[in-house]
Symmetry: C2
Subunit: 352 residues, 2 copies
Amino acid sequence: MTMATPAQCTPRSTAPQILDRCRELVHPALTAAIGRLHPWPGEMAAYALGWSEADGKPVGSPGKGVRQALTVLCAEAAGAPGETAIAGAVAVELIHTFTLLHDDIMDGDETRRQRETVWKAYGTGPAVLTGDALFALAVETLADSPNAHSGTAVRHLARALNDLVRGQAEDLLFEARPWTGPEAVRPEEYRSMADRKTGALLGCAAALGAVLAGAPSPTVDALARAGRHLGVAFQTVDDLLGIWGDPEATGKPVHNDLRRMKKTYPVIAALAAKGPATRSLTALLTSPHPLDDAALRHAAVLIEEAGGRSAALAEARRHVGIVLGCLDSVRLSPDAAEDIRTLLPFLVDRRM
Amino acid sequence: MTMATPAQCTPRSTAPQILDRCRELVHPALTAAIGRLHPWPGEMAAYALGWSEADGKPVGSPGKGVRQALTVLCAEAAGAPGETAIAGAVAVELIHTFTLLHDDIMDGDETRRQRETVWKAYGTGPAVLTGDALFALAVETLADSPNAHSGTAVRHLARALNDLVRGQAEDLLFEARPWTGPEAVRPEEYRSMADRKTGALLGCAAALGAVLAGAPSPTVDALARAGRHLGVAFQTVDDLLGIWGDPEATGKPVHNDLRRMKKTYPVIAALAAKGPATRSLTALLTSPHPLDDAALRHAAVLIEEAGGRSAALAEARRHVGIVLGCLDSVRLSPDAAEDIRTLLPFLVDRRM
């Protein structure tokens, strides 16, 4: 274990410190990339990234930057300096922002992180344009990287992009399906959707770190798999927050997902259970009347009583267990692997 | 000139025959690519490509396929079989379809080729999704191609994508600018926009053919330049059709561009002229009242009287002249170069 620095010799960083370090490492390149955009989509991209307000004034609350951190940490875990993977970190952060912009249009979501979404603040057409600009910029950033493995990295990114579009298509189609009966969304269909919609990009973020670090295939595969399962855990937690999260913290209206008939894991699990709460929930959700606020509150209580909340938490933790198994399955630089492990509870238990 | 087969020995193909041959060569791979999409965006993509109606029923009127033909012909011009460049031809055709889908959303265009646009037929969200799916598919198709030059090809595509998003941003912003005064759009600004919005993808189509054929840099550069100028010629002709084209042939409402304050070349040229028609046109366009159908018809007459129509035609032909110069500047396989030359008048004089 020549790469090892015993973890106990250095004081461990906290999850926010780890995210801050990675964000600071990537920030100059991300800023330079956004600076290459036409100023108009550039302004909207800065707004979407939380760098400025709609009037262009600066603001200081960027997103957590989980994806860029994963790329940096996976490069380090594969034994290279985090700097090696900066182009990959920039690309995944740009793609993540692109998906938020376009998904908010498709979902009709008007708020994100307590602010108007881009389409709401600037209009649908400009938001479509800015998403496209970020998408193109991500591909260019990675393809133009002087890293010897950038061609392989672009192939990983392209595959992830196809997966995440497919996952978004599945998620949108789920909304039109009934809550019960043979056409209802099954838990395995949910998992497949979440694996694509959220897992693909986190898996890609991890893979890009390893690929750009020149890691051997088994290491790339193990880290990519860890990233995908982290993504599914992440999506399941998002589902929990969509029902029981504090709107102050999530920045989205309460019960938004339920109102939209979104087939999220807690509901699917609650409806798949047996017992009086499941029967009451089924009757409530399949009633011909649209659900008002009181009915939505009641639905949330019934989902919890039917075990949907604990099942989703267990599902998220099961995927975190798989992530840990992946990290243990290959030889990694222990400091970076420990940083990834430190992030897991922070990401999965956030605001619960 | 060892590559030469004297053109007079073989009967020359007509432009429609050349386009048909290229389309048939590319079609199986394009169909296979669309088949890899999720069935829902796949159905919308087939509709956008003119392969089927909104109810899924087959229809037989695909687009001309200019971009795919250019890729195939430029590979042949560089001395390789057209088959070498099929992945490039598929990629540019997918990207072209993606831009039509998203541009129609941004421009609010409800009809294209006598049919409802995708957002009008299926909804804005699904149209955004399908555009994204085509974009991702294009990058994946090219990145996964076994061609030894696919990495270089992806870099060309990424650069073109950034250019065309920038061109679309400029075109949208032009709409909000006044017809006259210091803020008016200048002819050179128009050219720069058209070079990006339309030239970038045609330049990329040509470059990809040459790159995938393994052509040396000067050949790639000359063909890319030819493609870009063909694109500007193409855009200028589109502008002419947007004012004087037969709506039956263009599939768009008459005077659509004028109504939307689109800063097209004939209007810019007419306003830059001097004389009574220019003065009347200026007064009409800057009047505070929205233009009704009669005023739009009158504006079209004044643009023609002020020389806007002939200036735009001359501009299109000037760019075709540059295309011909580019083709003559490097050594090309004469049959393929002749095919490209055969296409030029067909593309530029269409429906005028």
